[in-house]
Amino acid sequence: MILRSKIMMACKLLCFLLAVVIVVHSRGPLTRKVSSPQPFFPRHSLVSDFYTGDVAKLTERLLGADLSLVVYYAPWDRDSQHLRWEMEKAARYHHEQIYFAAVNCWHPNSECKTRYKIRTYPAIVLHVRSVSGTETKALAYGGPRDAGHIIRFLSRALHPLTHVASHADLARLQMEHNAVVLGYYDFSTVKQLPRGFISYYLASLRSLQHHKTSAIAWGVVTNHKVATALSFNETRSVHLVLWNTTLVFTNAASSNSEGMSNWVNKWVDETTIWVDIPGTKSMALHSVLQKGPTLILFTPDNPYHTVNDPFTVLREISLDYSNCNQSSRVSNLARYLSSLRAKSRIQLRQAERVCRSYLQNQLHILHLSKQQFNSKDETCCGSEPSSEAGTTTGDQQSKVCDMCTHPTRTLTTPEELCTNPISWEEDSGLLHHVNKLMTVFSDSCRHLMLQYSPWEHYSVCCQRNNTLAKAKSSYIPHTPEKKEAFDVGSGHPDDRIEKLVALAAEDQCKRLFHGSLVAPHSFVKDQHPAPDITGLGCKTNKTLTFVAVDSLRHGDVAEKLGVNLTTREPQKTAAVIVDVAREAHFIMDASLSKLTLANFIINYTHGLLDRILVTGHVDTNRCKPSQICIQELTSENYLKFTQEMGKMVVVLHYSSNCAACTTVGHVFMTVAHMARHIPNITFARINILTNTLPWNLYFQTLPSIIVHPHYRKSDSSVFDSTLPLTPANLMSFLVSNLDPSHRLSLALSTCRDDCHEQVVQAAAVATTQLHHLMTVTTTKLQDVLHRLVKLKETPHEIPHWENHYQILVHTKHLLVRDIKTQRVKLNHLNQVQKLVPSNSNKLLIESDLLKSLQYIIQSKSNSKKTLESSTLHNEL
């Protein structure tokens, strides 16, 4: 182990330091020359690695194969590094038909670098050898860079054309594809290929670039009778069979491949399309959505599967929906699709049956390898005889050294990889899955590593090294295991036709297995007939566009729309209508079937659906009672929470993507802290990036603070965004929204040491004033009593005696009452002075204080009356 890791380390250093030319400056090297190019692919990879960027040599090899797939990579590029293993997997699958190569197109001064300018590494290019064999035609592959999709692309590139021998063939193509291009080429009259056929062939390859998801089939008619039946007038003419019509390309005979594919692209009309989101800058989805309301079907696009049941349902629906003039051609097509779905289910069952015995053999082998895996990392490969001589860095340890020169990630140290692989147990779920499934592997560890991404992590140490040494042996076509693999349907390997049949059978099983690893087949359950939606699209001004999005690769899009794909039936399938213009979207609740989808569309058309408010995930952190906490709201609980009677809720509307929101938190917290003693007030916030709210709660600027008051919920008010958001401003905003009793308790709770002193002082002053006032009132009372006595002594002599008397009695009553209230006030003031602690050590009895102060407030309003009475008195 130690020796191995040391060597690994040495190799790692080589990556950086090998062939380093150091320019010596006065105090040390200032520049370092770039190291010489290193092999990027494993030494015995099925992919030829031109790591020096030697294009001339590559071209030579390209001319030796009909089809070649070439990766132009840069060694530092992460995607290139990942692509390596995907290429290996793809090469495992197709290396017998296609030549796989990789060329370092970054290394400075290399031929590739000087000749080509690669804008984004890695570039994947399919080279098609011309008929003359002197040049190749390059077609860039822009699809997903995983083995499955590359394999699908290559399988199609191997068979871009389909022979149409009868009308039924055309019908079948029409069912499986959105559109069919038909070319009539007469092979009987000439010995050579018919003129224009090459262009047609190349155009079909070209269309693979544009239509990554087999939307268009390219058929060839060779039989004159069939051609006439399909209304072809002459050879070399091209038709485009669409869902509702058939177009004729008049310039077909004189067009080159580009002209042909341009014509097809221009006229192709599909009721349903797959939208591919490429992973680079793209407006693919955006441009579709801008056109109008769109129904998006999220469904797994498993590259190994040929049928996609949910997508076919969508096609059926979309055909009916767009069938405005009740065309029987369209409705028939939709009906056929229905039967096709039923048939494909049966076919799948059959395939599973056919493959079973064959796969069981492989399962046994897998078990063996797994056992070897588990026992010890060395044994896994150690039992395999190495057919290759050691590599340059050490004979017995050849595995190790190869590992070093081609690490998947330059970052991880060899030790880390060997001693701390991601544990077996962690992947046990996947292993279990793998175990349950059948396998087409032969016994090599390498296969495991390359076919299963989950195993890559684990098996780095033992296989990657080992593979290099023993890879060749397992690829010799007639190893016993391989032979077993071909024993499916036939025992006569010399027979070419039977061998082809066997190969096809093997391919089917392979696909079945690989496909099930990616995602299971999803089938739609159709129990009830669907309502008729024929021509609905033309009867409404909310006409839908139908698109499908691969939920395996773009599940996050669905997630952002608030769809939880994991709970869906069939798996990972969901339908969403998005209406960008109305800024609303709708999710279909029911599990997908033709019935539910049709109902969903009808309900949408009639405006019966509710806008979906996306809800962010809820933070489960409960805060302790002693803490000040800001509750995190979601669109789900927002209304319930804020509309509760008797509770005032202050909500900060923020978004995780605005900088200004990050600096208001402390203001909000401070105010929450200050207001913590106000009863029934809650501070909350909501991230409107992940939560959609009804329109009345939508703000143009963020952060926004809204107050939902205690009782009059309709009187919610928003903090004036032109004011600076400071604790003082926010506080006064809050206070202005409080009712008097809450205002008072707030005033109290914000009162601290300094404030207390002031209160005590004010109370002292008020006491003195009250004493004074009482003296004054008492004097007045005495005066009034005195005058009353006098008045009684001289009855009826003074004019208006009655009036005088009544006024004096009234004043007396008022004065007595004043004195009473003043006494009460005095009493409460004394209480306040007692309750308010003169130093901060004493505990403040809030409720008592509150009570006292409420009295004071009340008596204050009384004192107003006192004032009135005294003026009355003065008038006298």
Partner: protein, 455 residues
């Protein structure tokens, strides 16, 4: 005129979202890779270069680039905090306090001193408590690091004593502005103080720092052209523009950055108002297909169709503003450049899609990864995490040396370090790593830490 943040419903989720997602395991792995990068560089410095200012990553020795302050330690301080390495943080704080002496007769760049020394000291000061340093009473308004910061800032203040309020580019730490110092300062050199100076003012209670920084910011804006563009270099004595090329990159960059960050940090709507006005003009004259070109400040005629590595901060600023849509579109362009070269070259000719000879270097600039960090934090879209991982992978592949990370110069097929790039190497790699960490959601870093801590 409160800061306005546009929020466009739906488009946020539809425009571009590609990532197939990253598992928690991958995320942690990335984070640990970044941590490894930091310690590789930091330990390289401690082992080979301490107590010099900087490490030279190819020869593996140290040299003084500024004074003898072990400058790298100040730079690395807050990163240690982000790494939550308390013991090392405390050790470095003690070292800095012990060694700090800025009463020396050397000329320094006002700009660099502010962003590096002042910024480093202030964030270190604010992180002290969390890092278990025994803070004195009155923290965060008192403390040794704060006093050192104040001392440094005081030595920079003489540069601001000009008729326009815009500072000189260079100042002598002992004698103020040197005799015969050129009054020509680049726009960024005038307008990149508000975050550090504002923080200092708020912490010490002395308003002078914030005032001079604000005056300098307004100084630039007051001299804008009739179409609201600002030039590249300005005479701080007369207010005449010395270089009239207007863009968002070199020479101007951090002026815009600090407008937004200053507005957010110090809650200054007036700065946001300036930025929004400036951005309107930029979008009108410089913005083409999600690239930003260079144009004359007076008429807005395009002069150069280049993208500069420094410009990569722009999408981050837009993300802070809330304009995620524009930010995403722009960063996809920049990321494409990265994918073409393995770094963002200093100059990138947009129409020809290549880097001019001798302009292909890459001094480990942190701008792109900073923008990615903001975008990731704003959207939590793994696409940006993947882009960040792309950057890490290529840096690790090509720039890593035995004792640190070197700048790149692929035009000559070599990595090089001049005195100048050597001088910024640590800072770049350090900030780079800090930001990379932010992107793998360990913590928000840098200014955001200050943002969070200041009341």
């Amino acid at each position: 005129n409160k800061m306005t943040f546009l929020f466009v419903y739906l488009q946020v989720c539809f425009l571009m979202s590609f990532s197939t997602g990253m598992t928690e395991k991958e995320r942690i792995k990335l984070r640990e890779e970044v941590r490894g990068m930091f310690y590789h560089a930091y330990e390289g410095y401690i082992k080979y270069a301490y107590p010099y200012d900087e490490l030279r990553p190819l020869s593996c020795d140290g040299h003084d680039t500024w004074g003898s302050y072990s400058l790298t330690l100040i730079d690395a301080l807050d990163t240690l905090g982000v790494m939550e390495n308390k013991t090392e943080f405390q050790r470095v704080v003690e070292l800095i306090i012990e060694k700090a002496n800025f009463d020396v007769n050397i000329n320094v760049s006002v700009f660099e001193t502010s962003i590096r020394i002042l910024g480093g000291l202030l964030s270190g000061h604010l992180m002290s408590k969390k890092m278990g340093v025994d803070v004195e009473d009155g923290w965060p308004c008192a403390g040794p690091l704060l006093r050192i910061s104040k001392d440094v800032a005081d030595k920079l203040l003489p540069a601001f004593d000009t008729p326009t309020g815009m500072p000189y580019g260079t100042v002598n730490l002992r004698d103020g502005v040197p005799e015969g110092e050129t009054p020509i300062t680049c726009t960024a050199g005038v307008g990149t103080y508000i975050i550090e100076f504002g923080t200092l003012s708020r912490l010490t209670g002395d308003p002078v720092y914030e005032e001079v920084a604000m005056r300098a910011l307004h100084g630039i804006w007051d001299h804008r052209s009739s179409i609201n563009l600002v030039g590249n270099h300005i005479d701080v004595l007369t207010g005449r523009w010395a270089a009239q090329d207007s863009g968002i990159g070199a020479g101007i960059d951090s002026y815009f950055e600090y407008l937004v960050k200053g507005a957010a940090l110090l809650q200054k709507p007036e700065l946001m108002a300036i930025f929004i006005e400036a951005r309107t003009a930029i979008d009108k004259y410089l913005h083409h297909e999600d690239w930003y070109l260079w144009a004359t400040m007076t008429k807005g005629y395009v002069t150069m169709a280049v993208f500069q590595s420094l410009e990569a901060y722009w999408p981050g600023v837009l993300a802070l503003l809330g304009d995620i849509n524009s930010a995403q579109k722009i960063i996809f362009n920049y990321h494409q450049v990265w994918k073409q070269f393995g770094f963002t070259p200093e100059f990138y000719n947009i129409p020809q899609a290549e880097a001019p000879v001798n302009r292909e270097g890459y001094p480990l600039r942190p701008e792109l990864i900073e923008s990615l960090m903001y975008l990731y934090q704003a959207t939590k879209d793994d696409t940006f995490l993947e882009m960040g991982a792309d950057i890490l992978t290529s840096i690790q592949h090509t720039a890593k040396t035995e004792c640190g990370y070197a700048t790149k110069q692929p035009s000559t097929c070599s990595y090089f370090l001049t005195r100048r790039t050597g001088c910024i190497t640590w800072e770049r790699q350090d900030k780079f790593i800090k930001l990379a960490l932010g992107i793998v959601s360990l913590k928000l870093v840098d200014t955001s830490i200050i943002l969070k801590l200041i009341l």
